[in-house]
């Protein structure tokens, strides 16, 4: 290029760079598309379209839920505020027409007209292959299956083309509910086998990129980290044909922009907004904001009971009296949570979980208990939290820090990056921390088995071990399996009382799942997985 030419072109560029400002014009065809399309905006998107994949994240569960079918699902009931809420105890067929429970097995008859997205009929061998896959691939899906005592491929038996039997290894009340969670989804076995390789016998690489199910929606376009587009499956037989034809799910990292998109009416539905935004949107009434408690979930303060000072129950009780409960409810959650403290003195323990403790903020009592334990002048410790949920965790920890300072306890705040949080939890060395646990299966003994049992699972973050506690939890599990109601009730009350007396973890509140949507969107349902079910939704 010649020097002069270059100079000319540069000055030309500078002169011609005045940009026309043109607002987007929408033609009428596009407007029609809009009325049949649901536009969802959220912070994160899926990293894998198959829940059986390695490290599939929570947004990936939402895709699986809507694009795959299970044998059975839950009925709906009316929940808090009249919002449809899944009914823990009632099941309905999705791919199955009929479910017959015997003493040591359950038999499913499949719907004969069910087809996968590519048109092949859904048969018993697909069901067996999929369940085998769930218990064999390892990682989270296998773990979730084992929670319902489903661990061996031999348990799944093909009786004939349209009949499958699941044999029980032992009596377990959680087996049937565990067949209705997201994991035991039915995959198009022929299609996936064709795309599997020796290194990848279950075809996980294939299903990571595309859906191969029989569900109400299929993914037609997925750009990781940007958007997921799903189209309705016109031949779905798992339930009534959904009203929404197309779902566009866009990732918008800025919470402020998600709110702006909702308020301007450009987006239809969003979650993962700061509590303050939800509360303000609720107040101004332009949008529908649904707030429902997490089933079987609690945000708590945990203490490592293997090391002083928290090995002393008196210190733990003092901590429980020193928590600024109401301040957390008001200033952190803006009221969007169920208090799990301050139950009346004479209130009997219920056979339910979660339920409130009788602790409340009482600094005098806390001081007295600390003095009794020999820590009258306080001590030093660190309080840790997961930065991924800093919006709640950070102000919460600051309030706790302030409150503890009044007792002479000097707590340094330790912010743990999200990627590191699980490693830290696994080490079980953090003395004081806040965290949430919420179980998909809504049973008290399930929660306690993971969080308080002496077999010390990842979720027993306090390393709490007590022979008495283990006896009560195991007792409740056995009683539930055999249907011994009085023994079950006694054991549940027993472990709840013990957990509150020894307080290795201090329950703070039951968090809410918050979803904001346009007024013309209806049919939102609460599910145990807390993600959206598009199948029941409608627009207009």
């Amino acid at each position: 290029m010649k020097r002069r030419d270059f100079l000319k072109s540069v000055s030309g560029l500078a002169a011609g760079a005045v940009l026309p400002a043109a607002p987007g014009v929408i033609s009428s065809a596009k407007a029609d598309a809009r009325s049949e399309t649901l536009l969802i905006v959220s912070e994160g998107g899926p990293n894998n379209l198959d829940i059986h994949g390695v490290g599939t994240n929570v947004p990936g569960y939402e895709v699986s839920w809507n694009c795959y079918d299970r044998l059975i699902s839950h009925e709906m009931k009316s929940g808090p505020g009249g919002v449809p809420y899944y009914d823990r105890d009632k099941f309905k067929g999705e791919l199955a027409d009929d479910m017959k429970i015997d003493d040591m097995s359950v038999t499913f008859k499949l719907k004969k007209n069910a087809k996968f997205h590519d048109g092949t009929p859904v048969t018993a061998k697909d069901v067996k292959w999929s369940l085998d896959r769930a218990v064999s691939v390892g990682g989270f899906p296998t773990f979730q299956m084992s929670a319902g005592s489903l661990t061996k491929p031999e348990q799944f038996v093909v009786v004939d083309d349209y009949t499958v039997r699941v044999d029980f290894l032992k009596k377990d009340r959680l087996t049937i509910p565990d067949l209705a969670v997201i994991v035991p989804c039915v995959v198009n076995s022929e299609l996936v086998k064709k795309n599997a390789s020796e290194k990848d016998p279950w075809g996980l690489e294939y299903t990571k990129q595309q859906t191969a199910g029989s569900g109400a929606y299929k993914v037609t376009k997925w750009t990781a980290g940007t958007e997921v587009v799903m189209e309705r499956n016109e031949d779905w037989v798992g339930g009534p044909l959904p009203k929404i034809k197309r779902v566009i799910w866009r990732m918008v990292p800025q919470a402020g922009n998600r709110r702006a998109l909702l308020e301007r009416g450009d987006a239809d539905i969003s979650y993962e907004l700061p509590f303050k935004d939800f509360q303000e949107m609720k107040a101004n009434g332009k949008l529908n904001v649904v707030s429902l408690p997490f089933s079987n979930g609690i945000q708590y303060i945990g203490m490592n009971v293997t090391k002083p000072p928290f090995d002393n129950p008196k210190v733990r009780q003092a901590m429980a009296y020193a928590m600024p409960y109401q301040k957390i409810m008001d200033a952190v959650l803006f009221g969007l949570g169920n208090p799990m403290f301050g139950a009346a003195k004479d209130k009997a323990t219920e056979v339910a979980w979660p339920q409130a403790t009788q602790y409340f903020t009482d600094m005098e009592k806390a001081k007295a208990l600390l003095a009794e334990a020999g820590y009258a002048s306080g001590f030093e410790t660190t309080i840790s939290f997961d930065l991924n949920f800093a919006g709640v965790n950070e102000p919460l920890c600051v309030l706790v820090q302030e409150s503890l300072a009044q007792l002479g306890i000097k707590a340094t705040i330790n912010k743990v990056p999200g990627a590191n949080w699980r490693t830290e939890l696994n080490k079980k060395e953090m003395p004081l921390f806040t965290n949430v646990f919420s179980g998909w299966l809504d049973y008290p003994e399930y929660f306690f088995y993971w969080c308080y049992h002496g077999n010390n699972s990842v979720f027993n973050t306090m390393s709490y071990k007590s022979a008495e506690m283990d006896k009560l939890i195991d007792g409740a599990r056995t009683a539930a399996a055999t249907g011994d109601k009085s023994a079950y009730d006694a054991d549940v009350k027993g472990f709840v009382d013990l957990a509150f007396a020894e307080v290795p973890r201090i329950p703070l509140y039951q968090p809410f799942v918050n979803v904001a949507m346009q007024k013309n969107i209806s049919g939102y349902q609460y599910w145990f997985h807390r993600r959206l079910d598009y199948r029941a939704m409608a627009k207009g």
Binding site: R3, V54, F140, N420, N426
Partner: protein, 337 residues
């Protein structure tokens, strides 16, 4: 000239090898255990081990490195764990988005900053000089994400002039067939003018955000270098010879003031790529900046390594282009020199 380019590229090889080694070591030194992260919230210790094995993190570091280097040599950047896609494909798909935005931001910035700088230099101390000083100082002092959010708030939320900040195109338009990866060009090639307008209107706010941020160095550098040139003897001679002020300023002074401005441009371009990270977050822009940040947050090694490597290659190429431009603008500068 070709041999010169070849030589320059040869010199870049050691620095690229250095970049490969350093990014590899840095990503391994990140806190956090990707295996635990990707095993999910409910994983047992065995499940974490299983995943670690699957990802190859149980091998000694040196073996991991050689495997990585070998993959790189075969053009395989690895697979991202967060998005589940091969890194090379992701970068190829996302780089045009970032490049289009950055280039447009730069062009807008040049279009404003250079005339502003020239005017400020020809009338030092006048109102236009003060205007130049105030705008550039304000622009560079505001963090880009803040400027971006303010623009969204005013032009989208309050006034409704701008489309929803939802990435490169309106949700209901489909992307044009990929030829260059630049939507502005691809939509024109596809003769889809509606989509072109949509792509352009989506670009205006983020490009303006970047432009505001990069006004300062360009305008100030233009002004300073113009002032120096205008005070030099050949300009005085030209003026004394009775040439029109326009000829003096554009033909004589501006051309000679270009060199330091070009150097600044290369610098501005590289820091705009950095500033892009935040702008992409604000405007949900599917570029490589937001991709790299996501990866970093979840200790996802492969994309971080791929990102740094791509950036390194781009810097090398950018410097090469600048060097060649020097030669084109100023015959005194020789590539051999």
């Amino acid at each position: 000239m070709l041999t010169m380019i070849g030589k320059r590229l040869m010199f870049a090889i050691p620095s690229l090898i250095g970049v490969v080694i350093v990014t590899f070591l840095l990503t391994r030194a990140l806190p956090g255990d990707p295996a635990a992260y990707f095993a999910g919230p409910a994983a047992t210790k065995e499940a974490v081990e299983q995943i670690r094995k699957k990802l190859g993190f149980d091998k000694p570091l040196i073996e991991q490195f050689f495997r990585y280097a070998n993959d790189l040599a075969h053009g395989d950047f690895g697979t991202s764990l967060t998005t589940g896609q091969p890194v090379a494909t992701e970068i190829r798909n996302r780089l045009p988005a970032s490049a289009e935005l950055t280039l447009l931001g730069l062009i807008v910035s040049i279009a404003i900053a250079i005339p502003l700088g020239v005017l400020a230099a020809t009338r030092p101390g006048s109102w236009i000089d003060h205007l130049c000083r105030v705008t550039t100082t304000a622009g560079v002092s505001l963090p880009v994400f803040f400027t971006g959010l303010v623009l969204v708030y005013v032009f989208y939320f309050q006034l409704g002039w701008s489309p929803a900040p939802l990435g490169r195109l309106d949700v209901f338009y489909s992307a044009p067939p990929t030829i260059t990866g630049f939507y502005l060009i691809d939509t024109l090639i596809a003769r889809d003018f509606e989509a072109f307008r949509s792509a352009l209107s989506q670009l205006i706010l983020p490009a303006t955000t970047l432009a505001i941020f990069s006004l300062a160095p360009i305008a100030r550098m233009t002004r300073a270098s113009m002032l120096a040139v205008l005070a030099s003897e050949f300009v005085r001679t030209a003026r004394a010879s009775g040439l029109s002020p326009a000829t003096v300023i554009v033909t004589y002074a501006f051309r000679n003031a270009m060199l330091p401005v070009i150097t600044t441009l290369s610098m501005v371009f590289s820091f705009l790529l950095g500033a892009n990270v935040l702008v992409e977050k604000v405007f949900a822009w599917p570029g490589i900046g937001s991709y790299a940040v996501e990866a970093l947050i979840s200790s996802d090694f492969a994309p971080v390594q791929g990102f740094v490597l791509t950036m390194a290659v781009m810097y090398v190429l950018l410097n090469l282009v600048i060097d060649i431009l020097y030669g084109v603008i100023d015959p005194r500068v020789r590539l051999e020199g």
